[in-house]
């Protein structure tokens, strides 16, 4: 495990692997996005109560899941960089934060658009919505912290501590609908018994979840590669690539 982390953490190794990975991930992303969007907006039947308004689920739910997932990545790479001092994990955390913030904003805004006709209000201060808003502020705080230091290593260390402290918000967001009475509904898919969504509506949702996740992976790989090139611009292997 330890050896594997260090091997993966070597910039050149990561660069080579990510080059060959990102091509396939991009293809999966495009295929899933187009088919998921078509399935969700055209093929899936309207909901028995909400009619066509329910279709916002195909953006809202994947975005909300990714907002939590990316924060876990942020905290995990923070822990790795604090303990093992691996540069790649600093870079992954730094480039992940704006994507995570965008997904969080997307989840909040699509939720508000859906909330007006369905609930009767854009926003309520219930536990789920409030904790998700705190998540957005955590992302923004992390990004501000990154740009506040000239020394990237100090910025990464400060960010890692912030990310680790903020991780406590993730279980709170996830369980908020079960622990407290909220206006937001309970989980549809991530509960232990079978999902409360008809399979004709579930399949496009799963495709969209894969599309959102692979979009994140592709973006992180591309941005990480460019950061590696910038950082390692004096090493021989980068000069060889750029020479070609």
């Amino acid at each position: 495990m330890y050896k594997w982390i260090h091997q993966f953490g070597s910039p050149k190794y990561f660069y080579d692997i990510s080059l060959c990975l990102s091509k396939w991930v991009t293809i999966v992303c495009i295929v899933c996005f187009i088919s998921g969007l078509y399935g969700g907006l055209v093929l899936a039947p309207a909901d028995y109560q909400q009619g066509d308004s329910f279709r916002i689920i195909y953006v809202h739910v994947p975005a909300a899941w990714m907002s939590l997932f990316i924060y876990i990545v942020l905290a995990a790479s923070g822990a790795i960089s604090l303990i093992w001092h691996i540069k790649i994990s600093d870079i992954i955390a730094r480039v992940s934060a704006p994507i995570g913030a965008s997904y969080t904003f997307l989840a909040l805004s699509t939720g508000a658009i859906w909330g007006k006709p369905m609930w009767g209000t854009y926003w309520v201060w219930d536990a789920r919505l409030t904790s998700e808003l705190i998540l957005l502020f955590l992302y923004l705080g992390y990004m501000a912290l990154q740009s506040a230091f000239d020394d990237k290593r100090i910025a990464a260390r400060a960010g890692a501590v912030l990310a680790l402290i903020g991780i406590i918000n993730i279980p709170i967001i996830h369980y908020s609908v079960e622990w407290w009475s909220t206006l937001h509904q309970g989980p549809t898919i991530t509960k232990l018994d079978k999902p409360s969504i008809h399979f004709t509506m579930l399949i496009p949702l799963i495709l969209m979840v894969i599309a959102f996740k692979t979009f994140y992976i592709t973006t992180v790989l591309i941005k990480t590669r460019s950061e590696i090139l910038k950082y390692e611009c004096n090493s021989s292997w980068v000069k060889k690539i750029l020479g070609n």
Partner: protein
């Protein structure tokens, strides 16, 4: 102890520390994090008497009475054990219907009538096409709300 082990310890201490802190804070604020009170909690006197609060429950079937001349509407909210009469003057959300879960914000009047100044619909976690919903209804099991009505 190597410095790496020390760093692992520090990271674990951060995580354990904030978990304990968060648990304590959330336990202390438990009541304030509740978005609404149920009719049973109100019957037990747990809801505030003077200030405004939110009440959540199911709209009892055949309890919605609309005033033909204005927007005034009265209905009964139930959690299948206790019931509360609610008066509201305003526009109801699309999902408002009998058997639907809703949340109302307002004050309790001395005659045990809840005067709402905002009514929000609480959506459940079930998604299905209308045909499936109809088939389930015919079979006698649609969703929790319907089951509650049967239980009543």
């Amino acid at each position: 102890m190597t410095s790496r082990k020390k760093r692992i310890l520090i990271v674990s201490f951060i995580l354990i520390g904030i978990s304990i802190a968060a648990t304590l804070i959330l336990t202390a604020f438990e009541e304030n994090l509740m978005y609404f009170y149920s009719p049973t909690e109100i019957a037990n006197g747990e809801a505030p008497k003077v200030r405004a609060f939110r009440i959540g429950g199911l709209v009892l079937t055949n309890s919605v009475k609309r005033n033909p001349n204005d927007l005034k509407v009265t209905f009964v909210l139930t959690d299948t054990v206790n019931e509360i009469k609610v008066i509201y003057d305003g526009i109801l959300p699309d999902l408002f219907r009998e058997g639907q879960g809703i949340v109302a914000n307002g004050k309790m009047k001395p005659d045990n009538v809840f005067v709402a100044d905002e009514v929000l619909a609480k959506h459940d976690e079930n998604y299905m096409p209308p045909e499936v919903a109809k088939a389930l209804e015919d079979a006698g099991a649609l969703n929790p709300y319907q089951e509650n009505k049967v239980a009543k």
